[in-house]
Amino acid sequence: MQAIFRAFFGYFFLVLIVRVVGRRPGRQLTPFEFVLVFFIGGLALTAMVGDEKSLTNATCQIVAIALAHYTMAWARAKSRILARLLDGTPLILMETDAMGRRVWRTETMARMRIQDTDVMFSGRDHGLKTLQDIECAILERNGDISVMPSSRSASRGGGDRRCR
């Protein structure tokens, strides 16, 4: 029974840790973040399994984690508040201000620990060559950065879109 509680605790604790550690662009896992993923995984495994190495224990803990995950996903779909707590909301990183200038959201960039190079990475992924080609950039809930091409690049096939 204790092992099941350990599995539940481990799951919800890791959900909190991963949420607090913060979003990073998903395809840009740096070596540091790889260390984080593997190290936390290894440490959690040690504490969750303890000295119970039986197949029964492993099966029960896996089922417990699956149940916890299913419940979390169900509750998240039912409650917008929980969805926000678990995933946050999309965040604008670059936008067009009232005077028509494109500006960085410096507070968001700093707090989410995202640099202009991360935005440019996403821009290149969309075939954009410079930051001038980006009208606005949004950090999505899953950590991806969406970029909208500027009117300058619209003439090369992009659209004229602004985001607020």
Binding site: L16, V20, T89, P90, I138, R161, R162
Partner: protein, 179 residues
């Protein structure tokens, strides 16, 4: 054929000035950032406490109790971790020795709660009774010490009584085991 449930697509994601629908909620995000700062501060406190030994294995966890006549002193960790080995050592001096033998009494909680696995040195004899175990050691020269290797199986509070013999005044070492 079953009917597939459908719902009209509505602009349920916030959209401003007919521009790209983002659904950003900066007020919520700022509240979350405040919460994150509190969580990080809490994490720092946890690490500092852990380094200090508040969760065992550190200076704050080390403890010692001595009997009134100073014939027996116990070094132990007042905070232990479940499933983690540790040492509880009992030092006895000449006052605890009679006829070339020393008898050490420990309460049951040392075995049941703190998981005593081994005694160094091996006692010459062991007697069960009075709510604990009495070990007899042949002694040639005081002082001497007895070490108990512990590995607590689970969390809880475990007071351990230790005395130089079943009838002697006992010292109590209270050990908290964290999960």
């Amino acid at each position: 054929m079953p009917v597939t449930a459908r719902r009209l697509v509505e602009n349920s994601v916030a959209k401003v000035n007919e521009e790209v629908a983002v659904g950003e909620d900066l007020a919520f995000q700022r509240a979350w950032w405040r919460f994150e700062r509190i969580v990080w501060a809490f994490f720092v406190i946890i690490i500092v406490l852990d380094l200090g030994g508040a969760f065992g294995r550190g200076p704050m966890a080390q403890a010692q109790v001595t009997s009134a006549n100073h014939s027996l002193s116990v070094h132990y960790e007042r905070i232990e971790r479940a499933g983690t080995p540790s040492i509880l050592s009992v030092k006895m001096d000449a006052g605890a020795i009679r006829d070339g033998q020393a008898t050490l009494f420990v309460s049951d909680s040392l075995v049941s709660g703190l998981g005593a696995r081994r005694i160094i040195p091996e006692p010459a004899s062991t007697r069960i009774g009075d709510g604990g175990l009495s070990y007899t050691f042949p002694i040639t020269e005081p002082p001497f010490s007895v070490r108990f290797e512990l590995e607590p199986p689970g969390a809880g509070r475990f007071p351990v009584e230790i005395a130089a013999g079943p009838g002697a005044a006992a010292v109590t070492a209270v050990v908290w085991v964290v999960p």
